[in-house]
């Protein structure tokens, strides 16, 4: 069975490795260049200083300027990061979906399943080996991207919990890749043709990923709130790297005046008509900025939970797929 699996998929494996190598050849030089810029601008020192309490305003402003220069220089890479998100689903499309669907489409399942190996074992060995290959690939991808994206996340206000960068690094790519492969296999056992199976895999992957990301992830742990006054000296006291879920300006009695924004005025500042700062919004004296956020130090906890969710989904899909394989003729 192992020999057969290898013989059937060696060409695929070869091309996957080739694509992986090509990607590395593209990404590594960019990563190195980012890191040298990061070092040249002295941003590593900035990150260290900003994590300490009571940062001097001058240091903060100098560092922010450095971060801006870095971000401006490499902002186009955010597009590349978005493209990298699609890699796990590609593994699902080209490794998962054809696994059963192609056998059935070509009728070769009638050859393979009438030899002396039961289909359950056939399925376990095939799913197991392809799954293991996908995990190895995902570990390489996760480690590589973690290294690559690190300077970008360090300079961004949002940090590693940010919506796209969180999905690229750490252990979550393993969960996503396994899920994509399992979804592909499962789709192949239901639709039994390669193209429909691939289409369903793509749609299903995007749907589940979006649902988890938007609906579930913000609630893995109870979010924290922080408030700070509208009138203040210098930039607000926001910890870098926090994932801000919602924010707004509230009146002293707690009613939300302006959603999705925050207001910052110098102490004693007046509006154009001599009114108090923000009066045109209906702000009463004592109004404050309000934020709901997930703190930056929950990164690994969230990575673990998210990976767990997707690995569990993958195992469930594989179990159902094995059960379905027993009923295909």
């Amino acid at each position: 069975m192992i020999w057969l699996t290898w013989r059937q998929h060696r060409k695929q494996a070869f091309f996957t490795l080739l694509a992986f190598a090509a990607l590395a050849a593209l990404m590594v030089p960019i990563g190195l260049s980012m890191r040298s810029t990061f070092a040249d601008l002295g941003l590593a020192e900035c990150v260290r200083q900003l994590n300490e309490p009571n940062v001097a305003a001058a240091v903060r402003e100098g560092c922010d300027a450095g971060f801006h220069r870095f971000s401006n220089r490499y902002s186009s890479l955010n597009l590349l990061a978005v493209l990298l998100i699609t890699l796990p689903v590609l593994v699902g499309l080209f490794w998962g979906a054809p696994l059963v669907a192609r056998e059935v489409e070509h009728g070769t399942h009638r050859f393979a399943w009438t030899q002396g190996v039961g289909r359950t074992r056939w399925a376990l060995v095939k799913f197991g080996l392809v799954g293991a290959g996908a995990v190895v690939l995902a570990v390489g991808y996760g480690l590589g991207i973690s290294w690559w994206v690190d300077p970008l996340t360090q300079t961004a206000q949002e940090g590693r919990l940010g919506l796209i960068v969180f999905d690229l690094q750490g252990v979550v790519p393993i969960g996503y890749t396994l899920f994509a492969v399992a979804l592909g296999i499962f789709a192949g056992t239901v639709w039994k043709r390669m193209l429909p199976a691939m289409g369903i895999t793509l749609a299903g992957f995007i749907g589940v990923r979006a649902a988890v990301e938007i609906l579930a992830r913000p609630h893995y742990q109870p979010a924290r709130t922080q408030t700070f006054p509208i009138e203040g000296d210098g930039p607000p006291e926001i910890s870098r790297g926090n994932w801000i879920l919602t924010q707004g300006v509230r009146n002293p009695d707690g009613t939300m005046i302006a959603e999705d924004t925050r207001i910052q005025c110098p102490p004693g500042g007046k509006g154009p008509n001599g009114e108090a700062c923000g009066a045109e919004l209906g702000i009463e004296p004592g109004a404050y900025n309000w934020q709901l956020y997930q703190p930056a130090d929950r990164f690994w906890l969230f990575q673990g939970i998210e990976t767990g969710v997707f690995v569990a989904l993958a195992l469930l899909l594989l179990y159902v797929a094995i059960r379905r394989v027993r009923r295909i003729a």
Binding site: W3, L4, R7, H106, R110, F111, T114, Q115, G116, R326
Partner: protein, 296 residues
Amino acid sequence: MDMVLEADRLGKRYGSTWALRDCSLHLPAGRIAALVGPNGAGKSTLLHLAVGLLKPDAGAVRVFGRSPYGDTEGLADIGFVAQDTPLYRDFTAAELVVAGGKLNRRWDATLARTRLAQLGIPPDRPVGKLSGGQRAQVALALALAKQPRLLLLDEPVASLDPLARREFLQSLMGSVADSGTTVLLSSHLLADLERVCDYLIVLNAAQVQLTGTVDDLVAGHRQLIGPRHDGGPIGGVAAVVRASHTDRQSTLLVKTDGPITDPAWTVREVGLEDVVLAYLAEGNAQTSHTEWGVPA
């Protein structure tokens, strides 16, 4: 007599349509049996049930006394060549022989290689690039290398040209003649199999129409020609299979249970094909009348 394959009121349903229904038959050991029926009659379904690819929805099927569905050990005794001889097209014939060895505990690789060498099949070319006849031979060699006691072939010659058909069947007969392997091969054309089989199962419209040894079937049917027949009993006739009438004359194909002595009837012997066609035509007429909702 030893029964290799037994089906008892076997049924398989796809959605609300029965692909096979109330199928009861026995296949004695050592026979070369033809499974004949038009396309869609349920031949593939029956073979898939016998090799355990499908699970019966009604009744039971037993191969060597075991229920084949989910029975991996029982698979060792069954060689199966599916319709259109599906093989991994990018594998070479030599690789397929190796693959078979990895997938089976009992595997005679030498037998497969010898056969393929005799047939002049190139070992190092992907089987997808071989001709249909060569591919069928590779599939047969792989099935025979399992040294099966029952060999099931689903439409093995349907896609072959007449010469390749003859060669395929000849090589099949040559290889099972000594081993005593029971063979069940399906076709929608009796003419393909008539020369090689000694047992016949006729399937039509999801049901078994006829089963028995070729000799018994030929001996047990007669054609009667005589005055217009109104359906009354005829001495020695068990059943009228098919009747056609003109104004004054009736031609009947009947199943006999004794000598026909009534001098009004001219009795003629029939060929196997006549018998089979009579049963198939009868089954067809019944179904289409029911489907169209008109009286027969």
